[in-house]
Amino acid sequence: MQIYVCVKHVPDTAANIKVTGDAAFDESVKFVMNPYDEYGVEEAIRIVNKNGGEVVVVTVGKETAVNTIRSALAMGAARGILVKTETQFLDSSLTGLALQRAIREDGAPDLIFTGKQSVDSEGSQTHYRLAQAFDMPVATEVVALELKDDRAVVEREIGGGVKEVIEMQTPCVIGATKGLNEPRYPKLPDILKAKKKEIKLIDMADLGIDLSAGHTEILELESVPERGEAKMLSGSPREIAAQLVTVMKEETVI
């Protein structure tokens, strides 16, 4: 099987984000693989371990995104492709198109994984645009996957404890999320081997993509201010409860 996994190199969610200008932030913080993408990489590797084939990991990003590709290679992906950009944020339709062209140029996908969203821009749409470009069906927030002959049967969480079961024809695009699997911790020999695996570097221009054709532009980033110290309610539990109810009424919650 030929499986492609789309990953993104993003700031660690634990990192503090310092806004340094209108739409810029301090990029010296620690960057990691987008957590949701890890589930995609893990699932792809499990499938290929069972059925044979290779996992190719693709990303659109700055050259530092090579580190995220290496993480995926250490988990067991065979090769990586990096489509180089100048900025961390790129319009989703351009990203989707770039991914599709890079993949198409490389091989014929049987399955494509992405994460359900990135933790930095949180657009939640790149995989739809990618699927549209490939004319493939797509499902997101996938927590379970079973492959049958020409179909993928997935379960997706839609909230309230309800899961939808969807059957899609393959090849298809799957947006992975937490619960799909437990991503492996790479073994040292695999980490060492990953340093030697191939990473293809491509320019956006090589894919014939017009960077000015994007629809979305970030005008401004603004830090969200932290809350201050809490106002403490005191007294017996009954007294506190009464105070709480008053607060709720004042805030028109009840």
Partner: protein, 667 residues
């Protein structure tokens, strides 16, 4: 009669050749197994004079064994008595082959004195063995192995001593002893003769009696000789070299694995072939005395880990697969952790690396060398470790602290305290390395702030790294993630070498231990001091002004990485005494080198404890029962674990770090 003597000579010769021959073959095989393993040992015979002194005090003086009073005494009696009897047995063997040989003919005076001494020393052996039987049959402590092996050894030894006395008793009869006046030198053997009325036997009867005793004696000795290499009595051979080769210094570093080695097929201890010869010698030297098990915090709280059983099971595994090792068939050696093996994940991961086992072992077995190397293999080669550690490893890698707080905020703990950063003050006398717990944990932060208060009171010129500080990799290393740890150490080494601090002050024994004992191997060997010893120095230099303390009874809980790992036992106590608290200071039962671990070491702070009783509860129970209102600790993890344990028991005892106490009793 002459025919008998001739036959005896031939038979004894044959048996001696066979007995010693088999013994030699078996011992040689043990040697070959020791040489067949692939691991590299860095054991050197350095400081030979010191080592010889160790042999004299530990082996001859039995000082290590006698740390457990009664069994130690029993062992000493058996040791000396048995040694005393050996020359006599050798004479008997030679005499069996060559009937004309008698030492009495050569050096009668010396011989007489020897007989007198041996005869007296042999009796306490029986007393000692009697005590051993009493312990196994009546007392039956859980940590003491009472199997066939133990009982056979007791049996063999008893028979050898008893037949010794009977032989001697018969030798006092002139027709058997010849011209030498044996009776003159014997005390107990004479008693035996009288009690059993051996003098009233006919000449043929006494000759028969003597020969029976002789054969029993010879066969038992030869049988024992052949039995030793396969039993735990192997310690007779292995203990002396193991003690000779023991690490002479208490502090030790973890083994630095070469993770860049592209040709390495494996890392750490994955199967018995990965052992090194020193590990194997450790396994051979084990007497299964169980003292390590008795001290082990994991075993005493119901975990499947017992250091004694670990050594025993590993030794059995080694012997079971020795054929493959000797043939060089390393590929077919089965892994340590496999189906059906008593060595399980829980055995490995229950260890808190407290070193109580190594501390108490009478033959200086280095149990941790095995546990920590086995962990390395599981993490690096198998990715097999407690799943909750994956998040911790990722946090350490990404934000340089186990909880995953933003590394940007590492300097926030000292907000409002006016603490100089080393970038602003690079020539500071002291670089105060705060550590992860001290920077991010609420309880740890209070300790760091107390340390700063005291440093300022004493007008110490110090600075901190602030947001530049990084975790030193200790927890990752103890949890087997050598790759991550070395990456973190390299990063930290670069930062330290950039500032070249004159002295590093640490608030945590884990940080202290790794900087002091492990960082020089990575190129950053700086002068390191723990805050308890530094505050003691300040106190001795009279740089702190004391006031009345409001403390009542107070005890000091020894941190494993301070006490057992680095010998810092008296310094914190002296600090408390010199700070006006000598009247209040008491000791818990399990204290100093026998102090009970809090349960957080070995990375266990970040692992779930689901088996048996929680170790911190075990320690908290002792504290609550001792009714001591204040406990002084010198480690943020100990403070947190003890506080939580006491809280779970609804205790009212309060845990303070020693720096907080000093802060409270100074102006």
């Amino acid at each position: 009669m002459h025919i008998y003597i001739l036959l005896k000579s031939i038979l004894v010769t044959a048996l001696l050749i066979a007995g010693f021959g088999i013994f030699t073959i078996r011992v040689r095989r043990l040697f070959r197994i020791m040489k067949s393993v692939k691991g590299q040992a860095d054991s050197k015979v350095d400081r030979p004079a010191e080592r010889i002194k160790v042999l004299l005090t530990d082996v001859l003086g039995q000082s290590n064994v006698r740390r457990k009073r009664m069994p130690g005494l029993a062992h000493t009696l058996i040791f000396f008595g048995f040694l005393a009897v050996q020359p006599h047995s050798v004479e008997l063997m030679i005499n069996g082959v060559c009937p004309a040989f008698h030492v009495a003919n050569i050096v009668p005076g010396f011989y007489g004195v020897y007989l007198f001494v041996a005869d007296i020393l042999a009796f306490p052996v029986l007393v000692g063995l009697g005590y051993a039987i009493y312990r196994r049959v009546i007392v039956q402590p859980a940590y003491l192995t009472d199997g066939l092996d133990a009982r056979l050894i007791i049996l063999f030894t008893s028979v050898i001593i008893i037949t010794f006395y009977f032989i001697n008793a018969f030798l006092t009869i002139p027709s058997i002893g010849g011209g030498f006046d044996y009776a003159r030198y014997f005390t107990i053997s004479n008693l035996v003769k009288n009690i059993f009325n051996l003098g009233s036997l006919s000449p043929a009867g006494s000759r028969a009696g003597y020969e029976i005793a002789y054969w029993l004696h010879l066969l038992t000795i030869l049988g024992f000789l052949v039995y030793i290499p396969g039993s735990k009595h192997l310690h007779l051979l292995a203990a002396v070299p193991n003690v000779f080769l023991k690490p002479l210094d208490r502090p030790k570093a973890m083994i630095k694995t070469d993770i860049e080695d592209e040709d390495a097929e494996t890392f750490g201890l994955g199967n018995v072939a990965d052992l090194n010869w020193k590990n194997v010698l450790d396994l051979y030297a084990c007497t299964e005395c169980g003292r390590c098990e008795e001290q082990c915090p994991a075993d005493m709280t119901g975990k499947p880990l017992s250091p004694k059983r670990l050594v025993h099971d590993l030794k059995l595994d080694l012997f079971d697969q020795s054929a493959k090792l000797l043939k060089g068939e390393f590929a077919s050696v089965e892994p340590l952790l496999r189906d059906g093996s008593p060595l399980s994940d829980d055995v490995l991961w229950s260890c808190t690396t407290c070193r109580a086992c190594e501390e108490i072992c009478p033959v200086n077995i280095q149990h941790l060398d095995i546990v920590l190397e086995a962990r390395k293999h599981q993490v690096l080669m198998e990715s097999n470790f407690p799943p909750e550690m994956q998040e911790t490893f990722n946090n350490l890698e990404n934000q340089s602290n186990p909880w995953g707080f933003s590394s940007d905020t590492r300097g926030d703990w000292c907000k409002g305290l006016d603490v100089p950063l080393i970038t602003d003050h690079p020539d500071a006398d002291i670089l105060y390395y705060v550590g992860c717990a001290g920077s991010f944990d609420d309880r740890g932060i209070r300790i760091s702030r107390a340390i700063v208060n005291v440093l300022k009171k004493a007008d110490v010129d110090f600075a901190v790294l602030g947001p530049e500080e990084r975790c030193n990799g200790d927890m990752a290393r103890r949890a087997g993630n050598e790759y991550l740890a070395q990456m973190m150490i390299q990063e930290k080494v670069e930062i330290l070498n950039q500032y070249k601090p004159q002295k590093i002050l640490t608030g945590c024994p884990h940080c202290f231990n790794t900087f002091k004992n492990e960082y020089s191997e990575f190129g950053a060997g700086y002068d390191v001091v723990h805050h308890s010893e530094f505050l003691l120095e300040l106190t001795k230099q009279k740089r702190l002004k004391h006031k009345e303390s409001k403390f009542e009874k107070l005890t000091f809980h020894d941190s494993c990485y301070l006490g057992r790992w680095n010998g810092l036992i008296e310094a914190p106590r002296e600090l408390l005494r010199l700070s006006g608290l000598s009247r209040n200071l008491i000791e818990l039962n399990r204290t100093k080198t026998k102090g009970l671990c809090c349960g957080a070491g070995g990375g266990r702070m970040f692992m779930e404890e689901n088996i048996g009783k929680r170790i911190n509860i075990e320690r908290a129970e002792e504290i609550v029962a001792a009714k001591v209102p204040t406990i002084a600790a010198a480690c943020p993890y100990c403070t947190i674990m003890l506080r939580d344990g006491i809280a779970d028991l609804n205790g009212t005892n309060v845990v303070y770090d020693i720096a907080e106490i000093i802060d409270m009793v100074t102006v």
